[in-house]
């Protein structure tokens, strides 16, 4: 843990060296997600509601997804650079060190600029909470926290799978971006909006609906209380991800000379 904080402070300091460019890329990240949210605002302005959800409810939904992805990206997008780590044979060096492999890979790169999005999500959450989208109880508050934390966990799993694929292909597969950037874009609406097939895939294959659609039903008093526990179940997804990682490490042959 101490080592992790050390790495974190290194990355924050290195980002702050170019202060202007740090704030510009924060601004850039913010503009993208603000645009996504504006599209929800505009459509709801025209249509009033969709699937029985109102704007404050949808902003709660988007805030949960935004917080989850940004946290995961903040701390785990180091995995994004994994293709480069492999192709430059830096992984050999990593394997020589007496620390867990995954831990080291995560520490290679962090994205402090994503804190901006966490802040944005927090603002949206506060607004949604204040606008009476949900009748709050202590249990519901806990469920909300679970949704965000487990959401970050599931996204981390998605990034991990993406990295594992590079063990076998040695190059980054662009098509997997659908699962990396797609959920942030489409998570602005509860996944049930997109119809049953999409909801099924996102419930049983990549369990993003377990941290968003199903617990939201509980928060909005549209479903039974046990839906609120589903975020914890979603973490089961991390088991196959972890196994895949081990398989990948075993399969690894150095590319270096």
């Amino acid at each position: 843990m101490k080592l992790y904080l050390k790495f974190l402070s290194i990355h924050v300091r290195s980002a702050m060296t170019y202060r202007a460019s740090f704030f510009l890329s924060c601004l850039g990240h913010l503009l993208i997600t603000t645009n996504v949210f504006l599209s929800v605002v505009f459509l709801l302005d025209r249509f009033g509601s969709v699937g029985g959800y109102t704007l404050p409810q949808l902003s709660l939904c988007y805030a949960v997804i935004l917080a989850g992805t940004s946290l995961a990206e903040c701390f785990a997008r180091g995995i994004d650079a994994f293709g480069r780590i492999l192709s430059e044979a830096q992984f050999d060096r990593i394997m020589l060190r007496p620390r867990p492999l995954l831990f080291q890979v995560l520490c290679q790169d962090m994205k402090p600029t994503m804190f901006a999005r966490v802040l944005q999500a927090a603002v949206m959450l506060v607004w949604a909470i204040g606008s009476g989208a949900v009748v709050w109880t202590p249990v519901k508050a806990i469920v909300l926290a679970l949704m965000i934390l487990c959401g970050a966990g599931v996204f981390f799993g998605v990034y991990l799978v993406n990295a594992c694929v590079t063990f076998f292909t040695l190059e980054h597969i662009e098509a997997l971006n659908i699962f990396m950037d797609g959920p942030r874009e489409y998570g602005k609406y509860p996944f049930g909006i997109y119809g049953k097939p999409v909801l099924l895939v996102l419930t049983f294959l990549v369990p993003l609906a377990l941290v968003q659609h199903w617990p939201l039903q509980y928060l909005f008093d549209r479903g039974p209380a046990w839906y609120g526990l589903l975020p914890i179940v979603s973490l089961v997804f991390l088991i196959p991800c972890g196994l895949l990682w081990r398989l990948g490490v075993r399969h690894y042959r150095s590319t270096g000379s």
Partner: protein, 267 residues
């Protein structure tokens, strides 16, 4: 003219080599197009009367948008050019007996055409196989088809001229990232990339339609799906021409002046 034609062809040939990247990009576009259609379907099933266009027209808009994405994605900057200005290697280009702006334009247009031609056919095919009203349909009246093709050409010119304007600005600022980020965000919102312009609230929509970003994908896509009708076409295409002239003029002057005051260091 022949020189620029060769630059255009060279870029076209080079980009046509990247078939795997095209395949990956294409599958992404299929999924995104599908999700987009499903999303609007939810709105359409609930409030069909508040739709500013038919569901079929909207589906055609979305699939055409995905198919031709490479033609107008503003974030597809040419980092070779940006780097050459930043690091000063642009000096080599000046040794050539060609105009820098013209060469950049030829390269930019060539890249976009090559990327689009690799990706568009499968998306168009899948889109047109989908059942109505969620698929791509040829809804355009025959008399406007020629104008649709012309507006596509104008669109590519607007997009390239905008890209080049930013490259030209790079001579004056040390870090063009801020301008690039802002342009992309503005284009997403004002150009009908995230939400087609007819869905925007009144007032904001009229403002958006005047910006150069609305002269990009917005025009040909809406001519194709019949949302912009024949009497309105001269107006929107006139605006496209206006932005092409303005952007090219501004970009050309910026680049020329930038080159004049540029001091290249190094031996």
């Amino acid at each position: 003219m022949g020189k620029y034609w060769s630059f255009f062809k060279m870029r076209l040939m080079a980009c046509l080599q990247y078939r795997a990247a095209a395949l990956a990009g294409m599958s992404t576009q299929l999924v995104w197009g599908g999700m987009e259609v499903l999303l609007y379907r939810a709105f359409w099933l609930e409030h069909p009367e508040r739709f500013p266009m038919g569901m079929e027209a909207l589906s055609s808009y979305i699939w055409l948008q995905q198919a031709f994405l490479a033609l107008f994605m503003l974030w597809d900057w040419d980092y070779d050019i940006l780097r050459s200005v930043k690091e000063g290697t642009v000096a080599y280009e000046l040794l050539r007996p060609t105009d820098l702006y013209g060469m950049w334009m030829a390269k930019a247009a060539g890249t976009r055409l090559a990327r689009a031609s690799l990706r568009m056919f499968p998306v168009l095919l899948v889109g047109s196989l989908l059942p109505a009203p969620y698929g791509l349909r040829l809804q355009i009246p025959p008399e406007t088809f020629g104008l649709f093709l012309l507006s596509m050409v104008l669109m590519v010119l607007v997009v390239c001229a905008y890209n080049l304007l930013v490259y030209g600005l790079t001579f004056y600022v040390t870090d063009p990232n801020g301008i690039m980020v802002l342009s992309v965000a503005a284009a997403d919102l004002l150009g009908g990339a995230i939400v087609p312009l007819p869905f925007l609230p009144d007032g904001f929509r009229q403002f958006a339609e005047l910006t150069p970003f609305a002269s990009m994908q917005n025009v040909p896509l809406r001519i194709f799906n019949g949302n912009i009708t024949l009497p309105e076409i001269p107006g929107v295409m006139g605006l496209q021409v206006f932005w092409i002239v303005t952007l090219i003029l501004a970009g050309y002057l910026l680049t020329r002046n930038g080159l004049r005051r540029a001091v290249i260091l190094g031996g």
